[in-house]
Symmetry: C2
């Protein structure tokens, strides 16, 4: 604590990202990265860039990347905002669309950055409990006349809402912003981008960190009504004119261009998820039905924190949250088939030693 900190700085509770230990080589199943490298097109484009041009500022409009997003989603330029990862886009959205004291509604179990933004921007949170089966109670988000943020599929549960449910929430809160955070959408849920022409209160946020294998390059974006996008641009241009560097713009654009690679790696992850789910269940785990690139699992006999620690010792990182209602769960990112086989082998070895 410092006498120079602002009140906000004193009171915020910063987000803690998944650990990234540098002591040895781990099988990393803790931060939902893609196990597959970026598209060969990304690699090729970076390798043929004129690096002398790094002396020059990037294009503040990220035109080349914007054009690919526009093409992919069949939207227009004024409906797209690009930022430094979806976290930055989320933060800018909170700043752009909420006043201090406004209420924002989100589930009790969801992406743990939402409460951080809520505190940072002095909003008033209303936390809606997930059902006992960890599904979202859709009706609790309808006709609320308050800001709403929902992760679809939800994290860390992996459970998706149907597009109909999303539309119902958006439609019945037409006077307030509804933000749908689609970080994991490509792994099995239906995007709400197709609704942005119908509802001016809907903002859809996505990232290239998961399904497009670019966590290391920090690229995220939002799609919504052009007035919302203009609001985001006003905030961004009051903070930092250039949030994406030259290489991130190139990498992002190329990742979008390679639709085949994207589809192939996503379907590999989906099939590895099916394998992993079956194997975990045969070990006695309860595994929630996931539409994301991770599974959320609990074992009725073994303590999740113990499993987490034993796996870590064995060189496998998974994510454990010491939080109410989910403190006996593990969130396990879907790696390659080989990595998941290794996980199952280690679990077979570890579990009997735990009790």
């Amino acid at each position: 604590m410092s006498r120079f900190w602002s009140e906000v700085t004193k009171n915020i509770k910063p987000y803690v990202p998944g650990e990234q230990p540098r002591d040895k080589k781990y099988i990393k199943l803790n931060t939902n990265e893609s196990p597959y490298p970026p598209s060969p097109r990304v690699i090729e484009a970076i390798n043929t860039m004129n690096l002398d041009e790094l002396r020059l500022y990037p294009d503040p409009e990220c035109t080349d990347l914007m054009n690919e997003i526009i093409r992919f989603y069949d939207v227009n330029k004024k409906q797209v905002f690009v930022g430094n990862g979806s976290d930055e886009v989320l933060a800018f959205s909170f700043k752009a669309f909420f006043n201090a004291g406004d209420t924002i509604i989100y589930p009790d179990i969801t992406y743990s950055f939402y409460p951080v933004y809520t505190k940072l921007f002095s909003l008033s949170p209303e936390v809606v409990k997930l059902e006992d089966d960890f599904t979202v109670n859709v009706n609790a988000f309808c006709s609320r006349d308050n800001g709403i943020i929902i992760s679809n599929p939800n994290a860390p549960t992996g459970i998706a809402l149907s597009l109909e449910s999303i539309e119902k929430i958006v439609k019945t809160n037409s006077n307030k912003i509804v933000i749908i955070d689609e970080a994991y959408i490509d792994f099995g849920a239906e995007t709400a981008v197709k609704l942005v022409d119908l509802y001016d209160n809907l903002l859809v946020i996505q990232t290239l960190s998961k399904s497009r294998s670019l966590a290391g390059m920090r690229v995220g974006f939002a799609i919504g009504h052009e007035d919302l996008i203009e609001g985001l641009n006003r905030v961004k241009n009051s903070i930092n004119s250039y949030t994406l560097d030259r290489m991130a713009i190139v990498a992002g654009a190329e990742a979008f261009k390679d639709k085949d690679y994207f589809e192939t790696t996503v379907s590999k992850t989906i099939s590895t998820r099916a394998y992993t789910t079956v194997e975990l269940r045969s070990l006695g785990f309860e595994v929630l039905e996931s539409s994301a690139n991770f599974v959320f699992a609990t074992h009725p006999k073994f303590n999740a924190e113990d499993i987490y620690k034993s796996l870590r010792e064995a060189g496998i990182l998974v994510r454990y949250f010491k939080l109410d209602r989910i403190d006996n769960f593990l969130r396990i990112s879907i790696g390659t088939d080989e990595e998941m086989k290794q996980l199952i082998i280690e679990l077979n070895r570890i579990l009997p030693k735990i009790d």
Copy 2:
């Protein structure tokens, strides 16, 4: 304007960066980039990176880059904060150290992002007029007991304050934060980093966009007392855990490692600035004494906006600000010798046609 914008979003006046036209090749003397490519070490390191790892999140601590900054400035890790360009670091500083309604003092003619941050974070600006010769009235910043931000050297004037003057301001405002924005420090002024062990209210901010030829990679940093740095980290970690991507971290670290290249390119710019100043003066321009990688010049006979437009037509971009007191000035970045010769040739051709 949208019914969904927050009050802040409605009221802010976003920063407008220098134009980056894509229609043709210009001699770019308008955004103070280095005319020299990044160090060969930067190019080499990027070319030998394992690009498959771009699938993984970057190191949130930016350890490799931090270590180089620490080594270069002989400070410790807890005294350094790294961000996405100095603009982001400035924005986070405003959030970390000021409450809404707080007063912040800066000169009337300075980096035009300061009023933007002031508005964004609902601060109350106190604007101190530069003297008629565009120097900072140091006494007007002493014993003020309010937040202060000063660019040293100042932009767009290029005029530097002595370290003694900076120390006087920091020392006499010991209960409030003094931010020294040293974006251009390497081109002829003395850094206040050497004062950070003495004053816990001093925050020094620098960028790799100018003297280290990395505008395209978005790297900036702050050095100050560890409590201030902790405050910045709290804000950053409440917005975006990873503001620098993998390539920016590598590029920044390598740029710092190559001290020889840094010193060589900086001294080339200084000598080209001397040449440019002489030539402009011989054309009748009044040129302020610059300690930065640009000069600020006015011509008693010709209108600055006309010169700006004619130069643009001739394929040379310089910066023109239509602002009170400086609306007959041009800010001209220092390019290579060849580029500045071209500028002088064009001015010789253009000026007689203007009147």
